[in-house]
Amino acid sequence: MKTCPYCNFDNREGVFFCEECGQPFVGNQAVATSQLMPEDQANSRGRITWGTARFDRTSSIVVHIRDHPDPISLIPKDEILLGRSDNQSNVIPDLDVGPYGAAEQGVSRRHAAIRRGEDTLTLVDLGSTNGTHLNGQRLIPYQPRVLRDGDEIRMGKLVMHIFFK
């Protein structure tokens, strides 16, 4: 069996392109698959280049929240919960954006999660009220998408960038 590194679909041995998402399995695998971002494309008209999707055991995560100078380091684990804490519920997110004005910007208590896969990280929206956008594209709830170094994550109106170190 050949598990697709992009979408986790189990392909039969012998196929050269994932039957689910079209990811090539042979040849130059280092080619970064660019993700389409219509808004930005309209602005720059150029091809957007993306960072690596590779996230191995030694990597760590750094998050920059827009308009806040100090980066936040996260300890990688199987699931990192993103959201805001408040005093009415006992949800304690791993990345608590409550102090960054999250409630006003429409961040849910359990908004999204970063999950660790085989050498990759995926971002999944946990059915949040105002949705999660990855590089300007709205995520379908509970549908994980691969994160790349330098990606922009928007929860409600709160924008942050994620970097692999």
């Binding site: 012998g14 050269f16 998402c21 389409l36």
Partner: protein, 493 residues
């Protein structure tokens, strides 16, 4: 007794083989392809040839008659060759099923044709839509295209022209192209009115084409429409099946957004023709002329491919890559591939599934057989066959798949992604359809197809908000991804 064929090759024995060798070779072949042993559809077709060969060679008396007769005839030239390349020559030992692809290439051998200077004779029927929606530029362009086709044809060719709306008129009954002026003026009289009922036009067209049906001719109907036909699609398909049996090919071209592409695809696939999407009236002239030119370059006609996988191997799909990309049905067999042109090969990509292979071994995979009528040499039913086997090994050496297979598969994957997005919409699974279109956009962009990628992302959004694709977007994506297969392969290395 058909002495034109090398029966020894069919059984896979040398001409000096003993009767025992022949009996053994027949037993091995029967174990692979006898319908009781092999449920695959193509096996039956291949086995008929094997049984016929054994009937002659298995008996010493009839065998020596055959040998004597064969010595008297001149060795037949190779009219075309069949080359089959597997995606891997050595497979791994594996407890689970695996996929293997075969690239099937049929190439004309020009020196094989004795009278290669002579052009193939055309027996062409144009079936042209003149419903109200064709009014104006579309109909004008169709007339121009028809005029140009009349100009190109030689006095030996036969042409008929049908115009149809909700009824059909025979504008030009099947006749030799002698008085071009008169033929042109008959085309000019076409006026737009009425609805679209394809069956009327198509049946009148097939009727005209049939009048001059010849085994040494290219018998072809080109249907051009911009509308959707209602209620008579099944009739049309049945008509196409009958036409195919008689050796008539049908090519279907759709203009604009309305027409039913999967219906026209089916019409063309059944008969070995091609189907195309013409997105602007201006392109009509080029499309029609290209099609007629390619028919005029015919070297062999009524090309038929039979694929007989071994009993435990499953044939999953086949797709015609060249000269014009076309999805093909694997039932019924033999698969009709249409025309082999003098200077272009025909190629097909076949997908097979091999069962779990727990031990290292050499094994046979499939036998393929291509039959065609050679136009210049007046040779009908010329056949070539190819038997494919692979090695199954514990530790296969790393092997780069053939670039041609990889290139074709990469493009075919895009076409399939688009098809599966459509299927998801039909099933009502909007989330899946959106995801598939987004994935398609990503892959298209990676392939450098920015316009199609943009179209895919626009359609993904449209599906997410309206649960539907636009007709234009759907057809552009479908035929756009299909036409990627017609692009030349990147240089090797």
């Amino acid at each position: 007794m058909d002495i034109s064929r090398n029966l020894y090759a069919i059984l896979g024995v040398p001409p000096e083989a003993t009767q025992d060798d022949i009996r053994e070779a027949y037993r091995v072949a029967a174990r692979r392809f006898h319908p009781d042993a092999n449920p695959n559809e193509g096996a039956d077709i291949l086995f008929r040839d094997i049984a016929a060969a054994y009937e002659i060679l298995g008996n010493g008396l009839s065998r020596s008659d055959y040998d004597t007769a064969r010595r008297r005839v001149r060795e037949e030239p190779n009219y075309f060759t069949l080359r089959v390349t597997p995606s891997k020559r050595v497979l791994s030992v594996m407890q689970e099923p695996q996929v293997i692809y075969l690239l099937v290439e049929i190439a004309p051998m020009r020196q094989g044709a004795q009278r290669q200077d002579q052009e193939a004779r055309l027996n062409l029927t144009l079936v042209l839509d003149r419903s109200t929606s064709m009014k104006g530029l579309r109909l004008e362009k169709v007339k121009i295209a028809a005029h140009q086709i009349i100009e190109q044809m030689s006095p030996d060719d036969i042409l008929s022209v049908i115009s149809f709306s909700d009824r059909a008129d025979v504008l030009i009954p099947a006749s030799r192209v002698t008085d071009k002026m008169a033929l042109r003026s008959m085309v000019s009289m076409m006026r737009a009115e009425g609805g679209t009922e394809i069956f009327h036009g198509l049946s009148a067209g097939v009727e005209q084409c049939q009048r001059h049906l010849g085994p040494r001719m290219v018998n072809h109907v080109i249907l051009l429409t911009d509308g959707r036909t209602f209620g008579d699609e099944q009739q049309c398909i049945e008509l196409a099946e009958k036409a195919a049996k008689k050796g008539i090919g049908i090519s279907a071209m759709g203009i604009g957004e309305e027409w039913n592409d999967s219906f026209l695809d089916a019409l063309a696939s059944i008969t070995g023709g091609t189907s195309a999407y013409i997105n602007s009236p201006a392109a009509v002239v080029r499309f029609l002329n290209d099609r007629v030119r390619s028919l005029g370059d015919a070297f062999a006609e009524r090309l038929r491919l039979a694929i007989a996988p071994d009993a435990d191997i499953a044939l999953e799909s086949a797709f015609k890559l060249h000269p014009s990309p076309q999805p093909i049905e694997i039932h019924p067999q033999p698969i009709l591939l249409g025309t082999l042109e003098i200077s272009r090969s025909v190629s097909v990509l076949v997908q097979l599934q091999i069962p779990p292979s727990p031990r290292s071994a050499f094994r046979t995979v499939a036998r393929l057989d291509v039959t065609g009528d050679i136009l210049g040499a007046e040779r009908q039913g010329y056949k070539v066959l190819s038997d494919i086997s692979v090695e199954i090994s514990e530790h296969p050496a790393p092997e780069e798949p053939p670039p041609a297979i990889l290139d074709a598969l990469g493009k075919l994957t895009l076409y399939r992604m688009q098809q599966r997005a459509e299927e998801a919409i039909t099933r009502g699974n909007i989330a899946e359809a959106t995801r598939r279109l987004e994935n398609l956009a990503t892959r298209l962009l990676a392939a450098g197809q920015e316009n199609l990628a943009q179209m895919a992302i626009v359609e993904a959004r449209r599906v997410a908000s309206t649960n539907m694709l636009s007709e234009e977007g759907r057809k552009t994506l479908k035929f756009g991804t299909r036409m990627l297969l017609a692009l030349p392969e990147p240089e090797e290395g």
